[in-house]
């Protein structure tokens, strides 16, 4: 309470008379940081006994995953007559622009999904509420998920999100193409030597086996995976400085660029051309996100498989994103809605095997370990990497700094700059952005 009064005075002193924006800051009686310190007030989160409430739930599931979430919500609504959840879907880019504006205007939805690397930024900007009490009330702990996934939703000591799924990078391969080069289509390469040997065999058969894409989807994820495999990090844990231009980063990017130089990849690969070429039988391997499962499944007569990424460096590692539940800040908080939201998050999380069929790895360990998930061969293959995933540090504005890496990778894979030069330049720029962000969001 003390703090919101201070804020008001400070604002008045600044004379920024933007009524709507000013009001949001103090809605709900205090910023999230104080609320985080409040003890859990709600119990019995798995059932809801209050009056009928409706919850609006926004997300960006515009692809094949949308219908799966819709069906889950229909089931939830049917099972909970007093809670009515309605879903609004936007393109992710629009969603991330729209949600903060809606929350600022007091028109924000109740619930939403955020990618794990956006949680800290939105926590710092007070768009989402801390959910420690939700986790406590739902008796969710690190053991229910996996340490990196669970820790990724914590910003400045408070939890802001509950994981729904993880979507790691996997290695997709075209079995027909591998057979054509005399390779075993059921035993994809697992190490760097094996991988390069197969690329060499493919090259002799006239096939360029790993199209090195210069575009963020998915070159940045490939680069990151290789970087962590070589023992590196994109940023220091506290994001004080960038670390991607150090030796492991240079090794990782050089490895990708060498694919082009050695003729294992064509030059100047276009956006999404790597995956299209895999479908057309022109490419053998594509490191792509788990969301490609349903894309490839829809291609007629395509013999394909998916495996964990081969271990090129000294340890296994793979890029992953994660969809996480968040609760948005409201002008006035409604305990009934909050309780209903907890029930909803818990129910969906508990039923996320359905979500797995949309092409995701459920974050919930009990579901990942279940027979039903193991029966989803492709998802389970990619999901086996769960303990080797990395996420960006949970620091506000980290996405701004990591966007710089995308451009460096683009220039290097298009052979415009040497890997070392590209990364060093980007690193200097990223450090400046990190510094700006520290100033803006507070260290």
């Amino acid at each position: 309470m003390q703090m919101s009064l201070d804020n008001l005075t400070r604002r008045r002193a600044l004379g920024l008379g933007l009524g709507a924006l000013v009001l949001t800051g103090c809605g709900g009686g205090g910023g999230p940081r104080q609320a985080a310190q409040q003890p859990a007030t709600t119990a019995a989160p798995t059932t809801y006994t209050g009056p009928a409430v409706s919850l609006s739930f926004w997300n960006g599931f515009t692809g094949g995953d949308g219908p799966f979430m819709k069906r889950l919500i229909e089931q939830f609504n049917a099972a909970h007559p007093t809670i009515k959840v309605t879903m609004n879907v936007y393109q992710w880019a629009d969603y991330y622009a729209k949600v903060p504006a809606a929350v600022a205007a007091g028109q924000g939805p109740d619930l939403g999904i955020m990618h794990v690397d956006s949680v800290a930024t939105n926590a710092a900007r007070q768009v989402v509420l801390p959910l420690d009490d939700v986790a406590t009330a739902l008796a969710l702990t690190e053991a229910d998920f996996s340490p990196p996934v669970w820790q990724a939703g914590v910003y400045k000591g408070a939890r802001y999100s509950i994981p729904l799924d993880v979507h790691p990078l996997g290695m997709f391969y075209n079995k027909t193409v591998l057979s054509k080069a005399g390779l075993d289509p059921d035993n994809p390469p697992k190490t760097g030597e094996e991988y390069l040997a197969e690329l060499e065999a493919l090259k002799k058969a006239g096939i360029q086996g790993h199209w090195a894409t210069p575009f963020p989807f998915t070159s940045s994820m490939q680069f990151g995976s290789l970087l962590y495999q070589h023992g590196g990090q994109l940023f220091a844990d506290d994001a004080s400085v960038s670390r991607f231009a150090e030796e492991p980063g240079v090794q990782a990017l050089t490895w990708l660029v060498e694919l082009v130089n050695k003729g294992y990849s064509p030059k100047n690969v276009g956006q999404d051309a790597d995956l299209i070429a895999l479908q057309n039988g022109k490419n053998a391997f594509n490191w792509n996100g788990i969301w490609s499962i349903n894309t490839l499944r829809a291609v007629k007569d395509l013999e394909w498989g998916v495996a964990p990424l081969p271990q090129i460096g000294t340890k296994p590692a793979a890029w992953a994103g994660s969809h996480q539940f968040v609760v948005f800040k409201q002008r006035t908080s409604d305990q009934n809605k909050l309780t209903a939201a907890k029930v909803f998050i818990n129910w969906i999380s508990g039923h996320s095997i359905e979500w797995a069929k949309a092409g995701q790895v459920p974050a919930r360990k009990s579901i990942r370990d279940g027979a039903e998930f193991q029966a989803l061969t492709e998802q389970a293959a990619i999901g086996s990497q769960i303990d080797n995933l990395y996420f960006l540090p949970s620091v506000a504005g980290i996405g701004d700094a990591s966007a710089v890496v995308d451009q460096a990778i683009n220039a290097a894979i298009l052979l415009k700059k040497s890997p070392k030069d590209a990364l060093t330049e980007a690193s200097a720029k990223a450090d400046k952005i990190l510094e700006q962000n520290r100033k803006k969001y507070g260290a």
């Binding site: 804020n7 400070r10 604002r11 600044l14 920024l16 924006l21 949001t24 800051g25 622009a97 903060p100 504006a101 929350v103 600022a104 930024t121 710092a124 900007r125 007070q126 768009v127 199209w211 210069p214 575009f215 963020p216 064509p266 030059k267 100047n268 690969v269 276009g270 956006q271 051309a273 299209i276 070429a277 057309n280 022109k282 504005g397 996405g399 701004d400 966007a403 451009q407 460096a408 683009n410 220039a411 298009l414 415009k416 700059k417 590209a422 720029k429 400046k432 952005i433 700006q436 100033k439 803006k440 969001y441």
Partner: protein
Amino acid sequence: MATLTAKASTARAATPVAWSGWATPYLFMAPYLVLFCVFVLAPAIYGVWVSLHDWDFLLEGRPFVGLDNYTALFDPASAVYADFWMSMRATGLFTLLSVPFLVVLPLGIALLLNRSFRGRTFFRGLFFAPYVLGVAVVCLMWRLLLDPNLGLVDWLLGTDIAWTTSLPWGWVALVGVTVWWTLGFNGVIYLAGMQDIPRDLYDAAKVDGAGRWAEFRHVTLPGLRPVMLFVITTTILASANMFGQSYLLTQGAPGGETRTAIVYILDQGLGQYKMGSASAMSYVLTLALIVVSVINFRLFRGRS
């Protein structure tokens, strides 16, 4: 000179406007002025205020930083300098390359389509058709057609050109696609302008023994001057505001060289929530566009 002034004053005296009617013109203009002030002028002034702060509409602290956002744009050691000027260069280059085509080609097509021949309506529709497509449709389609390794264009030409990922081909693709997409619009404007040129001027030219070229030079072109001014000015502004093609077709490849200023400003402002910095950039861009527009108007006035 003196007689002229005298004439003008007598003319004014001859049609007196009642003093009580002074508000009439303002009232007529009021609806537009109100909209202009609320949606253009006020935000523009507010933008200057924003550009003087480290501004995030959700954060409590929006510290006043004076001209820091502007000086950063001119300080080679800042995080934004290199990217901003690269994007300004991309915008300038695109404008320089695309405007001549977008001004001259539609004129030629309009001249052809203005003559009467069988199937004229069909061809008019044909050239205008791409314009009705959305930018996303156009760019997605051309991105696949121009794909460096799988695209139909390279296959048809028997070439191996990286249309969307290398220079200068990226510019050829961006300009080419934009011209293909939007030339119909300028063509229609020219056609409408040509309808307004009095027929008797052409008849008179014929009587004077003018050939086709002389007709074009001495009747059509002068008749189209106001239309030309409109076309050139709007085309320059539209090209300078190019966003979708760079965002979707090349994604700024290679290494951000085809990323236009608007794409970069949007990323700064709405992607990274650095609205102060983004506002400062827009003002620098605006200033550049004002200068170009003024030069443009001067040139046309000078000629007439």
